[in-house]
Structures are given as C-alpha cells and as structure tokens.
C-alpha cells in the first residue's frame, strides 16, 4: 500500500503546526479575537435562523398561545420560589433589622450564538471576559430559571454548560410542601437528563416538588429554579436516595439569556 504525504500536504501540516504553536503561546490571540468578533454576528444570524426553523419543524400543540402560557407558568413558578425563599429569608432576618439586603448581582443580557460544534450541551454566548464574564458564573433564562453556568470565558465569547451536561453539578434544595428544604447535589446525566443525588432517605419528597439552587456554591445564588421532581429513587440498601429532575425550560429553544455578574 502506497502512503505518501505530498509536498503540499506537508506544507499544510506545517502551517497547522505553526498555527497550533502560535495559538498555545498566545501570539495570535488578538487575531483570533478579531476573527471571533467578526464571525459572531454571522453565527448569531445562523443560530436565529435555526431557532425559527425549529418552530416550524416541531408540530404545534392545540393552543396557539401554548408557548406564551408555558413561559408565563415558568415565570410564575420562578416567582413563587423566589417568594418562598424571601419568606424563609425574612423569617431568619426578622431580628436583624439593620441587615443590608442589596441585590448582589447585575444582569448581563447575552445572546446564544451557537452550540459547540462537538458537544451539543455547550452553548456559545456573545459575551466574554471583556464584558465581565468569568468561569462558573450563573446563567438564567428571561423567566429567572437556571440555564447553566459559564464553563469557559474568552475575551469576546463564552461557553456555557446546561444542567443536563455530564460536567454540570451544583448544590440544590428541594422545596417540599413540608417546607423542610432537603439538600442534595444536582448533576447532569451525559446530556440526557438531570439527576439529584445525596438526598437523605428519610426525607419525604414528592413528585412535582420544585428543585432550586441552594446558594452554597460561589457565584450561584440561592433560589434559581432548576426543575421539578419527576421520579424518586430510594433503595433501602443505599444511604442516600436519588431523584430525576424535569426542567421547566426547553434549553433547545433559548436564544437570549442573562449572566449573573456578582457585584462584589
């Protein structure tokens, strides 16, 4: 078998090698930033086009206002959780009247301009470190639901992971009807779903209980809704139980999100 690398193939491989060296040494970073900045509007256009196609693609449900109503439900669920959190917080702070309660985050509106070409659970935002974005910052939907967190922030763009991604994990609480607020760890399941682990066996959690962030993680405020309990898994031989979480939002349909920028 004849396997020869031609002269032009050798030149191309050398060019590639040179680009790799220049990239990893950071020399061509300004050029890359210019290229990304120039290509971002084109990418955003294509991404928006794909979103529009998906609307046509997916069969419409009975009501024309379904999307609108679903969005309103999501917004109200988020609002409800926020109020529950506030109620709880107020209870704790009743005796601390001088406690300064300022909003600790600024909202930075960002557009989703695409997906990572190799990993479908990674979304690309049109905001980067130049806009104050840093790794692990939280991302929320327009209704206030958790969308994910920043995995990699570059100068002009950043990559986020959604809760279904295998690399995603965050501390969370289940807002039960008993108001016990059971803690656990939320993890993505290889892009297929969301699982909550380390739930104490004796906690009485039910289907449809709301799951929200617990605020234990830095840059992840308390009370961002992740989803609701769809299935509870408890086995007597295990110390902890697990639950499958069903998100309220369809991550595929998001085009605009907000990055939570800590004020401190």
């Amino acid at each position: 078998m004849r396997f020869a690398v031609s002269k032009s193939a050798l030149i191309i491989l050398l060019v590639f090698l040179a680009v790799l060296i220049l990239h990893y040494s950071g020399i061509i970073l300004p050029v890359e930033n210019i290229a990304v900045k120039a290509l971002t509007p084109i990418g955003a256009g294509f991404y928006n086009f794909s979103q529009k196609i998906q609307v046509i693609w997916k069969p419409k449900l009975s009501s024309e206002n379904y999307e609108e109503l679903q969005s309103e439900i999501n917004r109200l669920v988020a609002k409800n959780v926020e109020l529950k959190m506030l109620e709880e917080e107020n209870q704790k702070l009743r005796d601390l009247l001088s406690f300064p309660k300022d909003d600790q985050y600024n909202l930075l509106v960002a557009k989703i301009i695409g997906r990572d070409p190799s990993l479908s659970n990674h979304f690309i935002l049109d905001k980067g470190t130049r806009d104050g974005v840093q790794n692990n910052f939280s991302i929320i939907s327009p209704e206030g639901m958790l969308v994910g967190k920043i995995l990699k922030a570059e100068e002009n763009i950043s990559v986020i992971i959604i809760p279904t991604d295998a690399n995603f994990q965050t501390a969370a609480v289940i807002l039960e009807k008993t108001k016990k607020n059971t803690s656990g760890l939320v993890r993505g399941e290889k892009g297929l779903g969301i699982r909550m682990e380390f739930i104490p066996q004796d906690e009485l959690i039910e289907i449809d209980d709301i799951v929200a962030t617990s605020g234990l993680e830095r840059s992840m405020p308390r009370g961002l809704v992740i989803g609701k309990i769809a299935e509870v898994k408890k086995e007597a031989r295990n110390i902890f139980g697990e639950a499958i979480i069903s998100p309220f939002i369809d991550y595929e349909k998001l085009s605009i999100v907000a990055v939570l920028l800590p004020k401190f």
Partner: protein, 182 residues
Amino acid sequence: MINLKRSEYIFKIASNAILVIFFSMVQANFLTALPWPWNFFNLILSIAIFITVILNYHRGLWFALFSGLIIDLFSFLPFGTMTCAMLATVIVTNSLFNNFFTNRSLYSLIILGFLGNVIYFVFFLFINLVFFTFNITNNLDIFFTAANLYGFFWQAVFNISLLTFLFLIFNFVSKKLKSVFY
C-alpha cells in the same frame, strides 16, 4: 493580461474563503442547533471528502485546514482537535482512494464517504484520548455514550446522503461547479 490573471486569482481565493467561512458558520451555528439527530450532520466533513475524492486532494486539505480552524475557534475542545481530525481524515481518505479505488464513481464516493466518517470518528476520539492523557481535557467520558455512538450512525447516514446528492448535482452541472472550486 497579467493583471487579469491576478484579479481572477484573487477572486478565486476570495470566493473560496467566503465559501469556507459560510460552510463553517453553517456547521458551527446552524446545524449544531438543530434537533437530534440532525445536529450530527457534519457538512464540513462531507464537503472535505467530496472535494478530496471528486475534485482535488490539495484543495480538500486546504478546506479541511481552514474550516477546521474556524470550527476550533468556537469549540470547547482543545484548539486544534477538529482541524487535526479533519486533516487526518482527508489524508487517509485520499490514500485509500489512491490505493483501493480505480475511478471517481458514485459507489467509490459512498464507500469512501462512509470510511471517511469512521476515520474522522476514530481520529476525533483518539485526539481527545491524547489530550485526556496529557490532562489538557478532563471530559473524555462524554464521548463514549450510547447517544454519541447512535449519533455517529446518523452522521454517516446524513453525510453519505449529502455526498450522493452533491455527486449527482456535480455530474449535472459539473462545468459550473468546477469554475468555483478550481
């Protein structure tokens, strides 16, 4: 006369560059956002294989290089992963074509298209394995999922369909296509 040739040359370079950017952006921002399994459609890979087998190996290499670099700019994976997989696919596909195939028929293209997809998949995993070994990436497990293997099947189906379509179109309007790619 010389000026005319130079302007023609510049026009061809510019038109090829625009095509590369266009296809790369379609791949990075449009196809990947489509619902499953359409998001596994690898337009760039199909075009690279088509150019390599049907048109010109060297132009296939240049296409793989530039489209791969653009995709790498928007990829979470270590820079160079996609370009490396693309270049390796083009080189091995061309070698297979030279050694085992006698003509540029539709059957050759379909078989090479399938083999090209397998080669791309293998190189993609191999490169990530190398990066994982050297601690450059830490999420190797996400590639070895049933969904990804199933996605590979769909990628091959879509890519071969596109190659067949491109071949038929090329045969129909070959002169027009050649003026763009040559």
